[in-house]
């Protein structure tokens, strides 16, 4: 009897169910239909690229669960990458450049948080504004041009996004597995544990689930939101730096559109737009699913234009099935 009850709770709580099933079905589909999909180069490519975006998806997911959006992650990523690139090129020690870029990311995230908390305007609008503003900063500090790092690759780059040569050489053509995968895994697991097992996690769910009730029970919802914005800013900046560490050049449009990819990954992963429901694991699988679809469609030779339409279709189907399931 007790086990039946427990199984029922497990199922009712499994907001990731839809995305996990979709992931398996899509994986199966491409495995059968797309030539070379099950190759080392294809699979590691999916993992590495999804992981770079996945790093900030973790932050966006926590924010969305607390009932807020962050559309500025792509812009923060660009600013952080430019700060990192330009300070390296100016001769700053790699570690100092990393700290500086992360500090800037945290400040930008903090600005988002401050605007949302203090003005009370919807975060969708607030971060739409900062998305444009931060993009302007990225353009300005980069002189609207590329920034490259031309010196010898510092050892730090290996730690940030080095290749796993022992995996990549397992087949021909070689794979592209990189450290980004480890970072993504680390942040996703860390966030998932925090959300489930700590007071902060409970407060994030309460903040998004019913803000008035949370406040009435003494939850410091403003602190929760501020922390989430700062963490998201940090993760966005870190993702940019990790990406730069594998290919040390950055253009002013870096990260553009990724804010919506992040929202899509979260929603496909079962997080509600209204907040209070969903998991980090769901969002992480959502990101992997999106990247897998992109890779799979490329391998099928599908037009790039159709790729976006497909993502849109998946998004809508995911929302419909999630809404249907949550009514049960």
């Amino acid at each position: 009897m007790d086990t039946i009850v427990r199984i029922r709770h497990r199922l009712a709580d499994a907001s990731e169910l839809v995305v996990l099933i979709s992931f398996l079905l899509v994986f199966l589909f491409f495995s059968i239909r797309a030539e070379n999909f099950l190759s080392l180069v294809s699979l590691t490519n999916i993992l590495t690229i999804a992981s770079i975006k996945g790093i900030f998806v973790v932050g966006v997911a926590m924010l969305m669960i607390s009932g807020e959006f962050d559309l500025s992650v792509g812009s923060i990523l660009a600013v952080a990458t430019f700060v990192f690139a330009l300070s390296l090129e100016a001769g700053t020690a790699p570690l100092a450049a990393l700290v500086l870029a992360l500090a800037v990311s945290a400040v930008l995230g903090g600005i988002n948080g401050l605007i949302v908390i203090r003005t009370g305007i919807p975060s969708f609008i607030a971060t739409l504004g900062t998305m444009l503003a931060f993009r302007g900063i990225a353009r300005a500090i980069g002189g609207a041009d590329f920034a490259r790092f031309t010196g010898e690759m510092p050892a730090l780059f290996t730690g940030l996004n080095g290749e796993f040569t022992f995996i990549n050489r397992l087949a021909v053509p070689a794979g592209s597995a990189r450290m980004a995968i480890i970072w993504f895994l680390l942040f996703a697991v860390l966030a998932a544990v925090v959300m489930r097992n700590t007071r902060f996690g409970s407060w994030v769910y309460a903040t998004g689930g019913s803000r008035a009730a949370a406040i009435a029970q003494g939850v410091k919802t403003k602190n929760v939101i501020a922390v989430n914005y700062i963490v998201t800013g940090l993760l966005a900046g870190f993702a940019g730096i990790v990406q730069f560490a594998s290919r040390p050049a950055v253009d002013p449009l870096r990260g553009e559109g990724w804010e919506l990819t992040a929202v899509a990954a979260c929603v496909i992963g079962g997080i509600w737009l209204s907040g209070g429901y969903g998991t980090i694991v769901g969002a992480a699988v959502g990101m992997l699913l999106l990247q897998m679809v992109e890779q799979g469609l490329i391998l099928l030779g599908v037009d790039v234009q159709l790729f976006q339409a497909t993502i849109g279709l998946i998004l809508i189907l995911a929302v419909i099935s999630n809404t249907y399931l949550s009514r049960q």
Binding site: G209, S210, A216
Partner: protein, 253 residues
């Protein structure tokens, strides 16, 4: 208007006046509640009963007047102040987070945790068990503390909020229209919980305009009209019709 109860006074509000600009919401209201008493606070919409309670729960500060709680004169500037004193309010809707489990709601804002460096690690099992036991002790049976609050009925939700207030050592329980959105059967249940609370010696202020409900569980009634106290009456002093007349002003004291 005799206070027939010889129990110690828990809260005494004296000459409470509250203005909003030029509007006078409360004109010098006296209000006293004793231990183990269920007091109904009644009045029509806009009579000032909500304002009086909001003064007591720190949502509004009084323009004039003083509050003595547990023998001490107190200043209540925020809901947190009220809560620190042991004044627990159960609101109609905004008490619980529907998407969260019963135990998470029960302990929300007061989670049991283990401090590991900067991390507050939840003692989940302990909270789940305590929640279940504590609700059981006041006669509330739940299937599982892991159930989401959103799956419960309105009456069950009220009961969880009441149970929570009792568990955390409330010295005064305020119920704001607890039965207004409930079915008859559900209302009966909630009224039982109120009696259980009373049996534990916990004073309850029960805000309502449903004369039927207060007639069943209240020991005394305070009626407010147009910002002034009409009077406080003991159970049996008035018929239901008398109460209704006093609320609407069809009859003077």
């Amino acid at each position: 208007m005799a206070e027939g109860n010889s129990q110690p006074v828990v809260v005494e509000m004296r000459q409470i006046e509250r203005r909003f600009g030029s509007v006078v919401a409360l004109r010098g209201v006296d209000f006293t509640v004793r231990k183990g008493e269920v007091r109904a606070l009644m009045g029509d919409n806009g009579a000032g009963k909500s304002t009086l309670i909001k003064v007591l729960t720190g949502v509004h500060t009084p323009t004039r007047g003083r509050i003595v709680f547990d023998g001490q004169q107190v200043v209540i500037n925020s809901p947190a102040d009220a809560r620190a004193l042991g004044i627990e309010t159960v609101y109609q809707d905004l008490a619980l987070v529907p998407l969260m489990s019963i135990w998470r709601n029960f302990f929300l804002g007061r989670e049991l945790h283990k401090q590991v460096g900067p991390v507050r690690w939840l003692r989940k099992k302990e909270m789940s068990e305590q929640c279940r036991k504590s609700l059981h002790d006041i006669g509330i049976e739940i299937r599982s503390a892991e159930d989401k609050v959103g799956t419960l009925s309105g009456g069950e939700r009220q009961s969880i909020a009441i149970g929570r207030a009792i568990h955390f050592g409330a010295k005064l329980l305020i119920l704001d229209e607890p039965t207004s959105a409930l079915s008859v059967a559900e209302t009966q249940k909630v009224l039982t919980y109120i009696e259980n609370a009373k049996d534990k010696g916990l004073p309850v202020i029960f805000i309502t305009h449903n004369v039927n409900h207060i007639y069943q569980v209240s020991d005394s009634y305070t009626i407010i009209r147009q910002g002034e106290k009409v009077g406080t009456y003991q159970k049996g002093d008035l018929s239901q019709q008398d109460i209704a007349d006093l609320i609407t002003g069809a009859r003077e004291k």
